[in-house]
């Protein structure tokens, strides 16, 4: 038997960028400003606005704004991050109901966290595993997601309203909850 050497064909990820972190969560105070980062997927804006409207009532938010990034296949750039951060106290990015768009919406949420804005990403349930994997790659393993059933794009207003109720508690907790992603406690 003879031994040969094989070269590894995979690429190691570069070190995490400096400043990647979760934002502090002081809580959504009265008058807080919520921004939705809408990726333009079908019914995404409608669903997120329904969730935002409920949050507005619950937390007495001051405003709800929509930032339309125009394409679901890109992550917001640094200028957009700065502009959103300047006018927001919390962010919902979405809708991740496909592979590429969920990846990019997660990227949006992580960038806003890095800019100090409590955020979350809204995805549909079939992408839970995918986003868990991407979150590892993006340097934030275990990052929270708000999840609604898949699909969203074909649902009518009543069905979307039901989805909004499902997502409401998740989004609320994630925007005001602990700043550290706690590992599952062993007992």
């Amino acid at each position: 038997m003879s031994t040969i050497q094989l070269m590894n064909p995979e690429i190691a990820e570069a070190p995490l960028p400096a400043g990647l972190r979760m934002a502090a969560r002081p809580g959504l105070r009265e008058g807080s400003r919520l921004t939705i980062i809408d990726n333009g997927k079908a019914r995404a804006r409608d669903l997120m606005l329904m969730i935002a409207e409920e949050l507005k009532q619950r937390f007495t938010l001051g405003s709800v704004e929509v930032f339309s990034k125009g394409s679901a296949s890109r992550v917001i750039n640094e200028e957009e991050v700065a502009a959103i951060a300047a006018t927001s106290d919390a962010v919902i990015a979405g809708l991740g109901d496909c592979g590429a768009c969920s990846t990019c919406s997660l990227g949006d949420a992580l960038k806003m966290e890095g800019a100090g804005i409590p955020s979350t990403v809204l995805i549909s349930d079939v992408f839970i595993g995918h986003i868990a994997s991407v979150a590892v790659t993006m340097g934030m393993p275990g990052y929270h997601t708000a999840v609604v059933p898949h699909p969203v794009s074909s649902k009518d207003d009543d069905q979307l309203a039901a989805f909004a109720v499902l997502a409401l508690d998740q989004v609320g907790q994630q925007l005001v909850g602990p700043t550290v992603i706690a590992p599952v406690a062993a007992n």
Binding site: M1, S2, T3, I4, Q5, L6, M7, N8, P9, E10, I11, E13, A14, P15, L16, P17, N39, G40, K41, A42, A44, R45, G70, S71, A72, S73, R74, V75, C98, G99, A100, S102, T103, C104, G107, F127, H130, S133, V134, T137, M138, G139, S154
Partner: protein, 361 residues
Amino acid sequence: MDKLVNVEEADAIEYIFERGWTDGLPVVPPTPQRVTAMLEAAGLKAEELLGSVPDTRRVVTAGITAINAVMAGCKPEYFSIVVSALEAVLDPAFKVNTVATSTGGAAVCVIVSGPGADEVKMNSGCNVLGSGNRANATIGRAVRLTIANGLGAKTGKLDATSIGHPGKYTLCFAENPPLVPWKPLRVEKGYSSEDTTVTVMATEGPRQVANLLNETPEGVLLSIAAAMKNPSTFIVGKGGQGIVLLGHEHGLAIHQAGWSKQQAREFLVEHSRVTPAELEAAGVRLESRTQHDMTPAADGKLSTVQSIDDIVLLTAGGPGAGWSAYLPAWAPIIHSRSVTRRVRPVGEALPDCGPDICEVP
């Protein structure tokens, strides 16, 4: 894991399967000697960068690409073409992270135009999209393996493909030189006839287009346009790109009627447009207030491709009947664009940017 691993030679292929480094088919074990030969054939050093993917913090080197090219079964003389294809894939306009993670299941279609294709004996004739030619098969496979291994685009990791298609193993072919005065793809893209270029587009699977009884340019092109405007193709009505591969008889019918390639593309742009009623008849709902603008134009129609520049039209395939092929981009143009790169001859220096452009004060 380590960059180098020792294995029994007889176990190497099984070891590579176990590591998850293959596309499901056996590969050539990437020994340092084989990888070095690949790099030397293109005059490249392992550490030279081809590009990066900031979204996933990956930097793609010539070395990693060479390892995957060895595994794909490439001969060293193919490597310059593989490198140019990867450089095109890593162009920001291609948005490879989107292409590689999408549920849409895109393949990277690689088209080689120019004398370099003949030099490595690529196939541009019979069975052009089929099996049997080593250069076609392994160049395309090397691109796919580099994306999978290098960028982590594998099932269960970053590749969220729902269905996919066999082109995700390999999808690469050469252009058949068109009859004068038609210009080859590379010249249409602004390169010299003596150059060799690589064009990449993220595509769905090929649709074969049959029309065996009509030799008019309108008849042939209407059949292709019918394939292009199929309502269940994702880009229809949204504005995407596509590759139209004119088979021998179809190319002749258009050429001998005196049509230019530009005329043919203009015809296809116009006749692949659809009405909302055609989409709705196929159960397709129009998107409203989404990233895809599906507002009909003044004449009530929606574009499948908005510009002649969005159609890569070329000749390829063997003679015999009346076949062409159409490969639609996997998603509308806002998500990815086709990119063309010139294959740099071995040893060619990078362009000199002048004495004052690169100065740092």
